[in-house]
Amino acid sequence: MRIANYTDQCAGQPLCVRRLLFCMPNALVFTSAFLLALALALIAAPARADYALNFPTPASGLAQDIYDLHILILWICFAIFVIVFVPMFVALVCHRKSLGHVAAKFHDNLKVEIIWTIIPTLILVGMAWPATNLVMSMKDTSKEDLTIKVTGRQWKWDYEYLGDDIRFTSNTTTPPEQIDGAQAKGENYLLEVDHPLVVPAGKKVRLVLTTSDVIHSWWVPAFGVKQDAIPGFIRDAWFMVDKPGIYRGQCAELCGIGHGFMPVVVEVVTPEQFASWKDEQKKLLAAAAVDYSKTYTMDELKTMGAKVYTANCMACHQPNGAGIPNAFPALNGSKLVRGEKSAHIERVFNGKPGTAMAAFGKQLSDLDIAAVITYERNTWSNAMGDVVQPTEIAALHKRSQ
């Protein structure tokens, strides 16, 4: 482009119309191209569902409020962005040396500086106001309709309906074959569990959270709830969802090798369905109560034990019992497993403090523990030939009391 010597004609005139006319088109082309590209990207992308650009559709009032607050802030930021960077682009396009522009000499202006300190302050107050109100309602866990205790564990969630005596564990069901690519990935890959948390629609659900090992974080984006679960402490959070459906989330705090494989699934059902679900659960729990008078056979224990192992031990000790060198010991061929029954029971029941090996005595039923120990002693190349009965585990409870 030929450089017009407009600066000569504008010499000494800071606001020369000729100069503006000269460079404005350039500046406008630049800025509008940029804005156009941005707008196109934003408009075109949602057309493809895969490219989600914003929060998932809110399912709770809280999530809706967060969504709206975020959009509001986004627009404010966008406006400030334009106000700040349009002048910058104009300067970059118009005030170039190659156009013959001569530098001005000014280097401060108290009035301007005061103005651009005060205006942002006011904008911030404007942002803080709705945010403060929202924080207050998020923190208000009172007047709940039901309370559920959530306990994180490496790498699953235990749910306990307080006052109802219903408790179960929620484990991922994505098969390892899908993860390592041997099988096609399912629709809800990594976001599916065996027992989802079931809650009634339209009721205020209060969660109290803790964990039995490291810090986890219970998170369902559509509910606007993310709360860390902290060992030794209880935290709480709440949500109320009107629309029945299945909602998915994940653990949001790094918790070891299974952190990416610790989904949260919540099934919201109508209050009537919820009531019948509760009855059903109670019956199931009663049926599953440990019958200490019964002597279980090796086969029964091994079959149950294999299930318990898959759900509770496999992530660390691996499906083939080989463990992970230097992190999780092998159980196949382990001296402890092939040694005295009592030492084996002791290790599973009380865990080993200071390591990832948790005290399963507090987490599993006596039958489960008896089964998994029997399984470990009599599978892979371990062949101890002995069985462990639930009564042997029950004895430990007495001792620890």
Binding site: P14, Y51, A52, L53, N54, F55, P56, L62, D65, I66, L69, H70, I73, L74, C77, F85, P87, M88, A91, H95, R96, K97, H101, V102, A103, A104, K105, F106, H107, V112, T117, P120, L124, V135, M138, Q178, G181, L190, I215, P221, V225, K226, I230, G232, F233, R235, D236, Q250, A252, E253, L254, G256, I257, G258, H259, G260, F261, I324, N326, A327
Partner: protein
């Protein structure tokens, strides 16, 4: 590089020792600055290579290359090495080279301490990197090292704690040196309010370092004793509190992010006036803005912990203080734009990097403001949105301003011009690839992808693939940078004393490269 002293500056002591011992025993601020910079460049490539592995694993859903245990080591070590091995040492390298030259001092105040500060780094770095090869592998609990997860690890965890201790000692000694140099060795006539802004930012940063590195040292020592000596500082079963660690860590950690950005502000505030050929707008308010950012950085730490569940009052307090930081930060951005306004602008490589810094850092600032709002943060904490946010402030903030600073001062340091065309190509590739890599991460975070996961649900696949492709391009582009720097060190068009027309700080009065002992007689600043 600058063994041949400028005859005009001939001086009895002005000879550089040569060979290996020159570097090992050097007490010369220029040599030590050079060592710092090479060290950080190496670490930048090492941690960058880890990032390439992360992006390779995340290219597709499913586990393709690494098991989760190793993936967690990659992210943790990538973060730790980038912060403590690449960004911090390179900024100290800048301070070593530039602070004495910009204030007209012959060297740093404590040259021997300076040597020791540097030579601790390779020791710490070796210790940290070698932890990949010990039983159990490197640390994998995230660079934030939260217990109880951190208590579960193997010997690498102890090695890393030791390494961080050494790095901390090195930083504190470096900071003491910088403060003493700036306060005592300025050329006659250079009052504090006449110091170049880069020197100001480092003065304030050095105070931050001295204030917070000991806090980190305490916190990780407590981790160590929890691990091995039966204490229960962070173990609830013994009366401790795991969240206490997070408070201590972030009391260090938030000022730490300003330690990485304030000197970058200084570099950008030096480059922009040079190529706008116009004095920095609002120098005084710039100084106050840096000081108030530094002060505020001590009272915002718990904004990293909103999801831990603190009392209402705590959440509101930390939300308000965090929002306050936007004001001095905004002032800085406005001042840079005002400096450009009606300048006489040219676009050499350093200027391109500085301009991209202003633009992209502002994006990181805005996402920071979004994250400051507790309700929104609850949704975004520990998601890829945060990964996007801190790469906008750390990569396009710190790392790109460091690259700009290297291009800016390389002619002074080596006496040669770098290849301008290659520099520009490097710039454009970096900027474009950076945005392809990290912009989509905002969307991933909003859509609900947690950070620090080796595998993800199918709805995140497309953006992850884009981010990985961008990441590979971004990594590869940095090889151009390496090539350009090496070429410039080895030769090139002579730079002359002052290759940049608009540069007016003291270093440009010296030859390029400056004599081994510069400013033996102090200049007079009017």
């Amino acid at each position: 590089m600058y063994t041949a002293a400028d005859p005009a500056d001939a001086h009895a002591h002005d000879h550089a020792p040569s060979g290996f011992m020159r570097w090992v025993s050097s007490t010369n601020h220029k040599d030590i600055g050079t060592l710092y910079l090479w060290f950080s460049l190496f670490m930048f490539f090492f941690a960058g290579a880890l990032a390439m592995l992360i992006r390779a694993e995340l290219f597709q859903p499913g586990l393709q290359f690494f098991q989760p245990a190793f993936f967690n080591q990659l992210t943790t070590m990538h973060g730790l090495i980038m912060i403590f091995g690449a960004i911090m040492p390179s900024l100290v390298g800048f301070a070593n080279w530039q602070v004495p030259l910009m204030i007209g001092a012959p060297d740093m105040a404590f040259p021997r301490l300076n040597n020791w500060s540097f030579w601790l780094l390779p020791a710490a770095g070796t210790l940290l990197i070698s932890s990949f090869f010990v039983p159990g592998g490197a640390i994998a609990g995230g660079w934030t090292m939260y217990p109880p997860l951190f208590i579960q690890g193997g010997i690498a965890y102890d090695m890393s704690i030791l390494s961080l201790h050494i790095l901390g000692i090195s930083s504190i000694m470096g900071a003491i040196n910088i403060i003493t140099t700036i306060l005592n060795m300025r050329a006659p006539g250079m009052t504090l309010m006449k110091m170049p802004l880069f020197v100001w930012t480092w003065l304030i940063t050095a105070f931050l370092l001295i204030a917070v590195m000991p806090v980190l040292a305490c916190a990780i020592t407590m981790l160590l004793t929890d691990r091995h000596f039966g204490t229960h500082f962070f173990d609830a079963a013994g009366g401790g509190d795991p969240v206490m660690f997070q408070h201590l860590f972030w009391f260090f950690g938030h000022p730490e992010v300003y330690i990485m950005i304030l000197p970058a502000f200084g570099i950008v505030s030096t480059i922009i006036p040079t190529f706008a050929r116009k004095p920095l707008f609002g120098y005084v308010s710039m100084v106050y803005a840096v000081a108030s950012i530094a002060f505020l950085s001590f009272i915002v730490w718990a904004h990293h912990m909103f999801a831990t569940g603190m009392p209402l009052g705590g959440q509101l307090f930390f939300m308000y203080t965090t929002m306050l930081i936007a004001i001095p930060t905004g002032v800085k951005v406005f001042n840079w734009v005002a400096t450009l306004w009606r300048g006489s602008i040219t676009f050499e490589t350093p200027m391109l990097f500085a301009l991209a810094f202003v633009f992209l850092f502002a994006i990181g600032g805005f996402s920071g403001l979004v994250l400051a709002l507790v309700p929104v943060d609850i949704q975004l904490q520990d998601t890829y949105y945060v990964v996007a946010h801190f790469h906008y402030v750390l990569f396009s903030g710190s790392a790109m301003s460091i690259m700009g600073g290297i291009y800016y001062w390389l002619p002074k340091w080596t006496g040669h011009m770098y290849d301008e065309k290659l520099g520009k190509i490097h710039f454009w590739l970096t900027t474009i690839a950076f945005n392809i890599t990290f912009f989509p991460m905002h969307f991933l975070g909003l859509a609900g992808m947690p950070r620090r996961i080796p595998d993800y649900a199918l709805q995140f696949a497309d953006f992850n693939m884009i981010a990985s492709l961008g990441g590979f391009l971004l990594g590869a582009s940095q090889l151009l940078f390496l090539y350009n720097v090496i070429q410039c060190v080895r030769g090139g068009a002579p730079a002359g004393n002052r290759p940049w027309e608009g540069a007016d700080t003291l270093e440009w009065t010296q030859s390029s490269p400056p004599p081994y002992h510069s400013f033996v007689t102090p200049p007079i600043v009017k």
